[in-house]
């Protein structure tokens, strides 16, 4: 189903506003009909899954309904479960002392969309404080400043620092930054665990020779340099507002800051001229705003927390039994556990994996100084095979647990992988081999993406190598181009995935027939 026309006037280097996606999804679920019933009619809204319990027949789901009040609860039994709650269900609001004293409006960025009219079109100019260093904070700061509000943008000193912003433009042959990033040529430079460098001569050159490794470093330096030049952090007219505070702490290669795409021509101008940028820790909240570590007193009518999402999985309550279930499935436990018998086992695997990761990517030995103090770092990493499957359970799969720069392609590929595994059609390696793969992925992620990689699910740049790896494991090919040059350089589009389910269906049918004959 094609996306309904987005007027050219509403795009910026082909990036388009998010509302078109929501409308599209609405139409999508209504148009999909299976056995006479639409996909939409199978969705139960206002129905929160409170707990999930493993039983002999599969899973029992306890559902609570709420829509402007409690609607009661119900129980459902399902043979298999796909958890698609993803990473953006639990808003993270840091606890700051004095939060109760603050008299103004306080909200998480997830609610900004709903309340923006009252914030953006105030009777008089409003003072808005935005907390956070990444793209969502930048969006809010820009939108508020543009609407004529007084904006203070606070990025804590002790965090990973402000995000870099790369240009949405790209040079030939690519139409925009997405295209220049999401292709198999660029995949060669990502230092991705999921990329098979032995397949191409370029890969062997880049990873097996000193000159190749120097080229990778050089390319990334150039990308960082270009982004810094675009932002021009030391510009004269932004000095008074602290525009220089937006300089990222680490180079773009490390992706330790959720690098974003600069989607407006006037983004840097608006921020430099109209936003006061602070790189300071917040000491406390006062009745009228915030107090920063350097003593600055920030007054604000509204405080927006663009501080991301909590990692703890919302589906499981924190009883001892459920913690055990989470750990056995490979999900991060909400709190580090003192006597985790599996911890030693994983430490041994990870130590072995570390040697292999360094041997494969010596470039990761030169990690820059970076912030590591997040308490979330001590939480167990996500230990799902390929980021989807628990090692010991084939009745449940998790999609959307890996963090990628672009999710639509991944949603499609992960879904097919998950369904295939739940159907028992995917031939998986032994438990020990799966554990070793998980250990390698986690260790690589931690070395590759510094503090962001600590939870083991940060695959920011790795969309193409990761999805190619999953499809390769499924034995599918139809998403690749027959022409080798095209396969390497052409941007990867959603339409390349056309026909994957059909190919999968044919393959599994053939597999079944062979099995029958052999029997």
């Amino acid at each position: 189903m094609p996306l309904k026309g987005v007027p050219r006037s509403d795009t910026y280097h082909d990036f388009f506003p998010a509302r078109y996606v929501a409308d599209y999804l609405e139409c999508y679920v209504n148009s999909k009909i299976y056995a006479g019933r639409s996909l939409a009619s199978r969705i139960h809204f206002h129905s929160e899954v409170e707990t999930l319990r493993k039983v002999e027949q599969g899973w029992v789901l306890h559902i609570r309904g709420h829509q402007d009040g409690d609607l009661g609860s119900a129980q459902f039994v399902a043979r298999k479960v796909i958890d698609a709650t993803g990473l953006t269900s639990n808003p993270n609001i840091p606890s700051i002392s004095g939060q109760n004293e603050y008299r103004g409006q306080m909200l998480h960025v997830k609610d900004f969309g709903r309340q923006q009219d009252s914030i953006l079109r105030p009777k008089g100019p409003r003072r808005v404080a935005v907390i956070g260093g990444a793209k969502s904070a930048a969006d809010v700061a820009y939108v508020c400043a543009k609407a004529g509000n007084e904006v203070d943008w606070i990025i804590r000193r002790s965090g990973a620092g402000p995000a870099a912003f790369v240009s949405a433009k790209a040079s030939w042959p690519y139409g925009n930054s997405n295209e220049s990033f999401y292709n198999r040529f660029t995949s060669h430079f990502l230092v991705s665990w999921f990329f098979d460098e032995s397949k191409t001569w370029l890969g062997r050159f880049l990873y097996h020779t000193n000159l190749g490794r120097a080229v990778i470093t050089k390319v990334w330096k150039a990308i960082s340099h270009k982004a810094r030049a675009l932002a021009n952090y030391d510009r004269e007219d932004g000095r008074q507002n602290g525009f220089y505070n937006l300089k990222p702490d680490t180079d773009i290669f490390w992706q330790n800051d959720s690098t974003g795409v600069c989607q407006r021509d006037d983004f840097f101008d608006v921020v430099a001229h109209r936003v006061k940028v602070h790189r300071q820790d917040i000491t406390r909240m006062t009745d009228h705003g915030l107090e920063l570590a350097d003593g600055t007193d920030v007054s604000a009518d509204t405080v927006v927390f663009a501080t991301g999402w909590k990692r703890s999985h919302p589906r499981f309550r924190v009883s001892e039994e459920e913690q055990d279930l989470m750990v056995s499935l490979g999900l991060a436990a909400p709190e580090p556990r003192e006597h985790d018998p599996s911890a030693t086992h994983w430490n041994v695997l990870e130590a072995a994996a570390k040697k292999n990761v360094y041997a494969r990517f010596p470039i990761l030995l030169d990690r820059p100084p970076h912030h590591t103090a997040d308490p979330s770092n001590s939480i167990t990493p996500l230990q799902l095979y390929k980021g989807i499957l628990p090692i010991n359970d084939r009745s449940i799969a998790f999609v959307g647990q890996m963090l990628l720069g672009n999710n639509f392609r991944n949603a499609e590929v992960q879904a097919l992988y998950a369904v295939s595994a739940l159907d028992g059609m995917l031939s998986l390696p032994s438990k020990a081999q799966m554990e070793m793969t998980v250990a390698h992925t986690v260790v690589w992620d931690r070395l590759r993406y510094l503090s962001k990689g600590q939870p083991g699910n940060w695959l920011y740049w790795d969309l193409i190598p990761y999805t190619d790896d999953l499809l390769n494991e499924l034995g599918l090919r139809s998403h690749r181009h027959n022409n080798r040059w095209k396969d390497m350089f052409a941007p990867c589009f959603a339409r390349d995935l056309t026909g994957l389910i059909e190919e999968y269906r044919m393959k599994s049918r053939k597999g079944r027939n062979t099995e029958l004959r052999q029997a």
Binding site: T11, A22, I33, H44, G65, V77, I82, F112, R114, A415
Partner: protein, 112 residues
Amino acid sequence: MSPNPERKHAGRHMFAETSDESLQGFDLAVIGAGIYGIQAARTYLELHQNDRVIVFEASGHVGGVWSPGKRIHRVRNSLTLRSRTCLRWILDTNAPRHSRVLGYASKRRPEV
């Protein structure tokens, strides 16, 4: 079983329904109706047309972070659209031809 077209599905939830679905088992339960949940349910149904699939969504909309009320005016998403050559299909790249999908609909298979 078919939802009231006037209400679309925005206000629907199982507690308003008269069906006794909860008493029966399902083949697959999907938690969340964001892009990942929609895609998971759709892929499963493409491969198992007649299985019983249920999707639970805590909010009143599909789309997760893309849903109405979570979007910011004038903020663009991370997707790109290039006329003729690019993401004309966002999700529906694997579907059999549209006509075939509608063909299933017109057959009105009985509920299993």
